[in-house]
Symmetry: C2
Subunit: 532 residues, 2 copies
């Protein structure tokens, strides 16, 4: 397929503006064709106007987005190796990674399609009337979640499929019934265009209005800001840096009508290693931590950037193994030059602090023309860590900081000094979780997911997953960006009082035609309501 | 009981500051004793530090707040007529109103206590592991809602009990397991002090740490702002004006770590009157609308401030009746001089617009020393309304604006010109709801609750109620401030991966000891999980 480098505006291609950019292959530093055109203000406005019209039409015609999602998953698979090849060229990541990421992406999309078809996600609640109640009769009240309207989604650089144009944010926003306008990430515009073709075909195949999907390009900051400022946008989804997410939040909060921004930002995913974990499995633990630290060249939001352990023989053994694995780790290509520079600066910043030393790093020499970096393990003590807030900031890439503690109290102090993160991991034996109740309670208050004897990377896509945490891990710890609950970000309750049965949405009528779970007069059931 | 006029800081009384104020009886313009002391920065800081400590202790000791809520409801009733008398003196509202409001308040508190005792509100989700899954094993993941930490609640002027110190915000924040620091409304500080005594007793009786409740006074803007700025606050609840709510939101959004503000602000609660409603019941409708408009001297957030109807005999008949009822309505005392002045200015602003005229107002003369106002009905046409955005702004008090339309299209244009509101009402026959699908779809997109053939006042407290709507009705349309769902504002999900059963919170263990509803591997049930 020949890429055109244009914006997708409600089903049509558009390139009104003069600002252009190219993708680069980070593994070769070579420019990739074609030329991509940044969206103009008028293209942004058109995309959002069309999405409002599409939303109205879909609401009036009560159109489901499940067929769109099924069609999208199929269309992505139909793109075949062309999609994989372009993603590899734009990221420097290996082919196997994208075969896996594509499988996850289409599985997520189909999961949301099934969620919509099953229907219980709307959290239907019915309180039947009591016309004879004294002193006042009780009305009939019924509530369910409805879509909010046009959603702007920002593609993430580190997951060109699973958290980008066709990722969990887009899939969940569409699943809830909202049109989506995606801001493609400028590091993988070709991958984005291929997926946008699939999305456009899926919209057509499922007979939704063409305005249901647009995708705009922009290498400069202004395109995204204009999209967030647009008065017709109802919500924003973002995965990226703290600075980027906060900037979008500040824009959204300053609007005449503020809108929610769901931004998944930085996290160092602390791992607390208790002595019992080190007794018999120090070497195994070093192996699994090393894999987690270097997976995808450390470019995951769940990368473990902080290991906290109690001084002793066990920890020494673990660090020796980890140091060896790290020095043997070959230099690897990061996603783009900007991420590489941030990583180098971050490691240098940590290493330059008094009280911090480099325990180990890859011995091979990185090739800047291949955007390569070394893996690195740094070390410090609890006092230094607690008194230097900067040491707790994320360094995005294959490095981690080890904090050695003299006592359990120091472990607790380190935990207490942390801001919000996506995850915290405890390595130990089952008794540790009750014995170290104070530590667990502190961590529970700091993160969205607590892991026992695992690693933070590998985020299961399922109803119980929570991929979110207190600020600055995300902007809204109440919501997840992974798993079925992610749909709730793009919906709000609507309540109907004393509506005649046939005027109600299907989900709230007496007869439970869709066989969904509903809370009827305080009890969950799949029963129909017996009309008076 | 002798009132002391002091701040309640984690169980102790405190009056460090020199800034003082008094309550006024709006029905007499007389000053009420005692002198109330504004909280100082150090009192604010102490209240929040104590609340953090109390929260930690409660989380570590796994203390339930249900006993606190039951004790609170009892203690409020024990205050007896002293509470009612003080509320009447501070608001000018009749005794019967407060007997009713107290009944609603204690019923709400007990409803939340029962919700906590029953336990399903935590939305437990369990996905059991699949150790043999390929290519990767599936971990065991379990999720539930947990409390967020210290919550600041602002008392509302118009509901000194049900939306103030012991109101739905406080009850739901406590129910979720959070300590609360209340900013008492300066218009009813004595009522607030009596309730704070009840709350302090309830905390003691239920063996919770004293820091679980504080109440601070402040007639000046600064006290509330300092509370929202305090780094230890996790969420804010507010009911009041758009200007007030927005100011708090702007402060919260500008913090280093932004926090959610749940503000219920302005709403004009449009009522759309279709011809079929006027055929046989124009006079009855006039009666029920008049009651809703003047209930509590129009000082309800669900007050119907906009009536939209199709020109014709039926509408003429309704307006004649409504005009007559309004002119007969005796002048009535508003909550305080500031609200009265805003109301007078608001009515004058509307009446002064070209194309707007006064249809009717109370004929009796208002007595300013009794803080009295007249009820009023104003009229305009659809063109004037749609082209003057200001006409859609709330005027808090017993007035309403009638918009007469020439056609259904004009009805739709009026609906389309509206911002977000709490409710919209449709008066008609059942067929109208399907016949006027476009109108209903527009309204559904603008409000939180759609009412058929009723009035917006009278907000049922139950699971299906949604008291919230798109901005500027509230700051967060995803959440309600009335009904059991209100608890969700003060909780967030926590996820546990591969935790040993006994280290999990009770709600997530295999054995369903509390017999709560849980989503287990995608199905709702009250079953226990069968361990491998």
């Amino acid at each position: 397929m020949e890429l055109k480098g244009q914006n997708f505006v409600g089903g049509g291609l558009s390139c009104e503006g003069g600002k252009v950019f190219h993708a680069l292959n980070p593994a070769t530093s070579q420019q990739l064709e074609p030329t991509f055109h940044e969206a103009t203000e008028s293209e942004i406005d058109r995309a959002l106007e069309l999405s409002v019209q599409a939303f109205r039409e879909a609401r009036e015609r009560k159109l489901s987005t499940a067929p769109l999602l099924y069609a999208l998953a199929d269309e992505i698979e139909i793109l075949g190796s062309e999609l994989i090849d372009r993603a590899v060229a734009e990221t420097g990541l290996p082919e196997a990674r994208f075969v896996g990421e594509r499988a996850r992406t289409v599985a997520q999309i189909r999961m949301f399609a099934e969620l919509v078809e099953e229907g219980s996600w709307v959290e239907a609640r019915i309180d039947t009337s009591m016309p004879d109640r004294h002193p006042l009769p009780k009305p009939d009240l019924r509530q369910m979640l409805i879509p909010v309207g046009p959603v702007v989604i920002f593609g993430a650089s580190n997951f060109p499929l699973a958290f980008s144009v066709p990722g969990g944010d887009t899939a969940s926003a569409l699943a809830a019934g909202n049109p989506v306008v995606v801001k493609a990430h400028p590091a993988h515009p070709g991958t984005s265009e291929l997926v946008a073709i699939a999305l456009t075909r899926a919209v057509t195949r499922s007979n939704l209005p063409a305005g249901f999907f647009s995708m705009l390009h922009g290498a400069s900051y202004e395109v995204g800001i204009s999209m967030v400022r647009h008065p017709k946008v109802e919500a924003v989804g973002f995965t990226g840096s703290l600075a980027g997410g906060r900037a979008l939040f500040d824009e959204a909060a300053a609007r005449d009508r503020p809108i929610p921004v769901y931004a998944e930002m930085g996290s160092i995913n602390p791992v607390f290693i208790l002595p019992s974990a080190l007794k018999e499995r120090a070497a195994d633990l070093a192996q699994s931590l090393h894999q987690s630290i270097t997976l995808g060249v450390g470019q995951f939001c769940t990368n473990p950037g902080l290991l906290v352990g109690l001084k002793g023989e066990g920890l020494d053994e673990l660090l020796e193994s980890l140091g060896k694995l790290t020095s043997d780790f070959p230099c690897a290509t990061m996603l783009h030059a900007g991420i590489r520079e941030s990583y180098l600066a971050g490691v240098q910043r940590l290493a330059g602090r008094e009280g911090v030393r480099v325990l180990s790093h890859s011995v091979s020499e990185p090739d800047p023309s291949r955007t390569e970096v070394q893996a690195a393990i740094l070390m410090t003590d609890a006092d230094t860590f607690v008194s230097n807030e900067e040491l707790s900031h994320e360094v995005f890439g294959p490095s981690t900081l080890v904090v050695t503690c003299e006592s359990v109290e120091e472990l607790e102090q380190v935990a207490d000094s942390l801001e919000g993160h996506l995850t915290a991991t405890v390595q130990g034996d089952p008794e540790d979780l009750t014995k170290h109740l104070k530590l667990i309670t502190i961590l529970e208050n700091r993160v969205g997911r607590l892991i026992f004897n695992g690693v933070p990377t590998g985020v299961e896509v399922c109803p119980s997953m929570h991929h979110g945490g207190p600020y600055p891990a995300t902007l809204d710890a109440r919501y997840t960006s992974v798993g079925t609950n992610a749909i709730k970000r793009f919906a709000r309750p609507a309540c109907y009082q004393d509506f005649p049965d046939k005027a109600l949405p299907t989900e709230l009528r007496n007869r439970n035609e869709k066989n969904i779970w509903r809370l009827i007069d305080g009890e969950f059931s799949r029963e129909s309501v017996v009309a008076d």
